[in-house]
């Protein structure tokens, strides 16, 4: 995974900034590491991760940690519920990751 640097306050989306689809891909990469036994190829975006994958609370902490490590994105504890499904995760992360530049 190449490093992705936080942006410097850019307000206008450029070609280098993460789109919703790129955020989805980033989450799939993280899930691939956290749930290596699961098939992610037909993950349904509007169904809870827990209902499709073998994820427990430690795994969700892993998602939070990987977002911090890879993208320097902070997910406060009160927002953990936003990571329930792919759809809610991307929706939640889009404004947080709009300043993340794709290396």
């Amino acid at each position: 995974m190449p490093p992705v640097r936080p942006g410097r306050g850019a307000k206008v989306k450029t070609e280098n900034e993460m789109t919703g689809e790129q955020i989805r891909t980033a989450i799939i990469d993280i899930l691939g590491d956290i749930a290596p036994d699961d098939d992610l190829s037909d993950l349904k975006d509007d169904v809870a991760f827990r209902d499709q994958l073998e994820l427990d609370s430690m795994d969700f902490l892993d998602i939070v940690m990987e977002l911090r490590k890879r993208y320097r994105v902070e997910v406060p504890e009160e927002d953990y519920g936003q990571l329930a499904s792919m759809h809610s995760t991307v929706t939640y992360l889009e404004p947080k990751m709009q300043d993340v530049e794709v290396a």
Partner: protein, 414 residues
């Protein structure tokens, strides 16, 4: 009122699961010991660089999902492999075993160094900012981790914990299991020892700093206890866990029995952090003999602890002469010469390598003896070639460790 189990003091081995650098099951391991096959290979680890080690190649995914391997520890994976293999070997109807009556007692030399080193290494990439420190650190490094991973993997709800006993831990885990069966704390004990120590650079660097890490151009000749040219320890990983039962239970279910624990002792040197004490070692063996109601010359094979250090091998030889000097029928061997020093697993793996002698009557040798050190030249030392004995009735297995912990167990043919 606590129910008193019938015949509570006769404890037998009915299952064995192991992974050693030269075998992942008893048959393969025993064949390696009889055919002189070493398990020591070139090895490299961060910071320390190139060295030698005993490395295991068992299939972690035989009993674990990839996620469980990622989340857990190498010691946990070794423990799970050994425990699952031991239960299968014991011929138990595992589905119907009351899991609340199973105890897990795993000896470890150390635990947590591997995981802590890995995590500090990763944290370096984040400039030591602890907000990037893994939430997996605590469950990976708690001392009961290897035993706990076994209980999670196998649905065992009886007691589980680790026994920290330096390099005497393999024997200590075994003894703990036997004691808990005798107390009626469990009906089946999964007991022995594991080691993941080759994955910490610290153990290599520390032995090196102590002048006690083996080097040799040929890795298979690096571990050479009792040889004049020995120059230290080869660190190994591995594991060996037993299914232990009361004899009456084993007999009732028609189990195959590898041997019976008839005596054991654990004592302390109280003299030095690292240097052994032959007087206390001898006292430990004598206490085990006394508890077994045996005299030295009734022991057919002594599985020595000798690690290949200059002084340690001589001191154990002194202790052995003191205890067995008058015995004409006791033979001595050493298994570290094949696999290196498997630390927390050493005692259990070394005992297990000898258990088939009850059936085949053969004492496997200590290998790599080109020039026998006169100070280690015990009369009954079996070196380089196996020796056929007429009959083997009793084994004594020595395991000693740092901070001056000594252990000896005596197993009887059943």
């Amino acid at each position: 009122m606590i129910a008193v189990p019938p015949d509570p003091h006769r404890i037998v081995i009915t299952g064995i699961g192991l992974t050693a650098p030269n075998g992942n099951a008893l048959g393969e391991y025993r064949a390696s010991l009889l055919e002189g096959r070493s398990g020591v290979s070139p090895y490299e680890i961060r910071y320390f660089g190139k060295t030698l080690a005993g490395i295991c190649d068992f299939d972690e995914l035989r009993y674990q999902k990839r996620k469980a391997v990622r989340r857990g520890t190498r010691a946990g994976s070794i423990g799970i492999y050994c425990a699952q293999e031991a239960v299968a070997d014991a011929g138990l109807d595992w589905e119907n075993v009351d899991k609340s009556r199973v105890g897990v007692y795993v000896g470890v030399t150390e635990h947590g160094n591997v995981e802590t080193e890995n995590e500090v290494f990763q944290l370096k990439g984040y400039d030591y900012d602890t907000q990037f420190w893994s939430h997996h650190h605590n469950p990976r490094t708690v001392a009961n981790n290897p035993a706990g991973e076994i209980s999670l993997n196998m649905g065992i709800t009886g007691p589980h914990y680790s026994i920290g006993a330096a390099c005497a831990a393999g024997n200590a885990g075994f003894v703990q299991g036997a004691q808990m069966l005798r107390l009626g704390d469990c009906d089946l004990a999964i007991a022995g020892g594991v080691s993941e120590s080759i994955h910490t650079f610290g153990i290599f660097a520390s032995f090196h700093s102590q002048g006690a890490l083996a080097t040799h151009d040929d890795p298979t000749q690096a571990s050479r206890p009792f040889d004049l040219d020995r120059n230290g320890i080869v660190v190994a990983e591995g594991g060996c866990l037993y299914v232990l039962e009361r004899f009456s239970d084993a007999q009732a279910r028609g189990a195959s029995i590898y041997g019976e624990l008839v005596g054991y002792a654990i004592n302390s040197d109280a003299s030095d952090f690292v240097l052994p004490n032959p007087e206390r070692q001898a006292e430990c063996m004598l206490l085990a003999l006394q508890r077994a109601g045996l005299v030295a010359e009734q022991i057919d094979i002594v599985s020595t602890h000798a690690t290949g250090t200059t002084s340690g091998d001589i001191q154990e030889s002194m202790a052995l002469r003191q205890v067995f000097g008058d015995s004409r029928k006791t033979y001595f061997n050493n298994t570290k010469s094949f696999i290196g020093h498997a630390m927390g697993a050493a005692g259990a793996l070394e005992l297990t390598g000898n258990l088939p002698a009850f059936r085949d009557g053969v004492c496997h040798p200590t290998i790599n003896v080109e020039q026998l050190d006169p100070d280690c030249a015990l009369d009954g030392l079996v070196y380089n070639e196996p020796r056929e004995l007429k009959r083997v009735d009793y084994l004594l297995n020595n395991s000693f460790g740092m901070l001056g912990i000594n252990s000896a167990v005596i197993i009887k043919r059943v």
